[in-house]
């Protein structure tokens, strides 16, 4: 983080061929597709995994503390965290991204982004962050069952690294301490606590959909319990072959990568503005997680210059979606 660039510098640098990252040529992988493809061999479906959410959180934190992004955009992200996180639910985001961001851009012209425009900008950004994550991590996978195992091992790795960041790197030194059953029990209890936090389920009552919703919720619940057992096993008693295949060989995560170090510092509460350009450029040849963060951060920077009025809609789409 030795090089400090601002918004104008970013505009110049990001147009130089060869300097930018692999944003061009993104596969048209939708955030929902990776999870839909992931079915465990025994029929259980992994609906979603936590790694893309963690990456979205990291990207948003990087964008908020960046000196490339404008303050109103930073505020939009900070004040609409849930909307940002849920952005991955959007299908065909390429079609909607400009439409979702234009109200925030118009608000900037008049000095005020209204709450709905800010919410939509955060939501659109969340879609871009999820897209960055899923494209980098799951775009080249082959088999559905393989994908689910990959997701679980990714999640466990990310959770461990984020836990370490919050505890000064001191915990998890003895992962064999709890049993697999203990960990499974803990994860099931987390599920119950989440149900308490959301208070009651809100059923789908549109156009006679309730009956099917009831069935789907029950099926999901039945699948989720054994799925958590797989998480517990990967946490407490990881399979060395899977660790090598899913984490080490593809270099999924490297805590020494500059952009990851920065993300973990921000997660742990670093409040100082940071510049990320060197970290972003370096990430191109670093771990998958670092590349996903760089992709997401770049997208946030592009969104910010669009909202600030520095680029038009055509350029927005070119920078986000073209080779």
């Amino acid at each position: 983080m030795t090089s400090h660039i601002n918004r104008r510098d970013f505009l110049k640098k990001s147009t130089i061929a060869g300097v930018g990252l692999s944003f061009g040529g993104w596969m048209s992988l939708q955030p929902g597709q990776a999870m839909a493809a992931a079915a465990l061999a025994n029929g259980h479906v992994l609906k979603m995994n936590i790694t893309p959410i963690a990456i979205a959180d990291d990207c948003a934190r990087l964008a908020i503390y960046s000196n490339v992004t404008v303050k109103p955009y930073q505020q939009a992200l900070a004040q609409n965290w849930d909307a940002m996180r849920i952005g991955g639910v959007l299908r065909h985001g390429e079609k909607h991204i400009a439409e979702l961001l234009i109200p925030a851009r118009n608000g900037m012209k008049h000095g005020n982004i209204d709450p709905k425009a800010a919410r939509n900008a955060a939501f659109a950004s969340g879609w871009l962050f999820h897209r960055a994550a899923n494209t980098e991590l799951y775009g080249k996978t082959t088999k559905a069952g393989d994908d689910a195992e990959r997701m679980i091992y990714h999640d466990v790795n990310v959770l461990r690294e984020m836990s370490l960041a919050e505890h000064g790197g001191k915990m998890a030194a003895n992962p064999s301490s709890p049993t697999v059953n203990d960990m499974h029990h803990l994860l099931l209890t987390l599920k119950q606590r989440t149900e308490l936090r959301l208070h009651t389920f809100n059923p789908d009552e549109r156009n006679g959909a309730t009956e099917n919703w009831v069935f789907k919720l029950g099926e999901w619940d039945k699948d989720y319990r054994p799925l958590l057992a797989r998480y517990a096993e990967a946490m407490v008693s990881p399979d060395s072959w899977k660790v090598k295949k899913y984490l080490e060989a593809p270099v999924f995560y490297d805590r020494t990568d500059a952009i990851i170090r920065c993300a973990r510092e921000l997660q742990a509460g670093l409040q100082e503005p940071v510049d990320l350009w060197q970290s972003v450029v370096a990430a191109k040849s670093q771990s998958l997680y670092a590349r996903a963060l760089a992709n997401g951060y770049y997208a946030a920077a592009v969104v910010s210059v669009f909202i600030a009025g520095d680029i038009d809609e055509v350029m927005l789409k070119t920078k986000l979606f073209s080779a």
Partner: protein
Amino acid sequence: MSEYITHRAVYDDSARLALNSPEICDAFKLTLKKHWEIGGLGSVTRGGDRNSVNLLEVCRDNWASRKEGDGTEEKLAFLLGWRCHNTADRMWKPIYRTLQPEHYVEEREGVSDIRIYHDVIVFREVYDHGRLAPLTLAFLDFQMERHPASSAISVKRAEDLFGAMYQRTLLELQSFVQEEMEIDAWLDWVFKKIQPLYVDLTAYTEAYYNPNTDYLRRFIIEPNFYDRSDAIIRLARSIQLGEPDVGIDLQKALQSAKSESQYAQALEWGYRYLKVSSDFFEHKIDEATFSRLSDLDKPHKPKEIMDWINYLKEKARN
């Protein structure tokens, strides 16, 4: 609204009574035994009154020809939990407003204290501080600190990320997600259907470990929220522990529950709703009778209670 633990307990106990009763049809008993946890999901789902008739009819129509995994049994199990949810709502929504009107008059954010205290007492009494399923010992701990696996990860971070995943999954289960529509309209659905994780667990931990004695007096003791000596409660507990007390007559216990603790009344109510559902399922009563006996046309918050709250609001404004 009544709360998660209380909702769940009313289902668990009412369904236990149903399983042990000769008045309840075999189809209900079979589905409860096979799909107890799905009933638990129904017990913490809103909107039951609007969907009960339809769902019961579908399950009844398909029952004889059902196949394993076609969803008939699962939907019926969910419906039984759903009926119990409406019991708890009807029982306690008026009581919350009567005993802690200030929360509703001042339109305070978050969960009212009385709801949390009810849950904490039920956690203690029905689930023996989390020793009895489906709840767990560290359930109300701060970051589950007593749990043997809690030191291996950041519980706070895991809860946050898995919670977000759960939230996203619930949204993905909604049919609108796949539909083509204007993006504005679609987004309106997203933010209408997203389920915020708004209940503060630390308030539960505080109420459990360091209860406010004034709240205990106002919400639990004086209004007789729970009395473990009530016959219906003793019967439910004995079934829960695997040894039904044959000395307690269900009908007598149901009758006496009407003048006993609030929780006993809720169990009588929950059992009654299941009995009415069973009668409808077996064609012993028609739809109109089922609807009337299930109170489907009655609001959970009676008009006189809401009028009183509105009167207090008006008074506070002036």
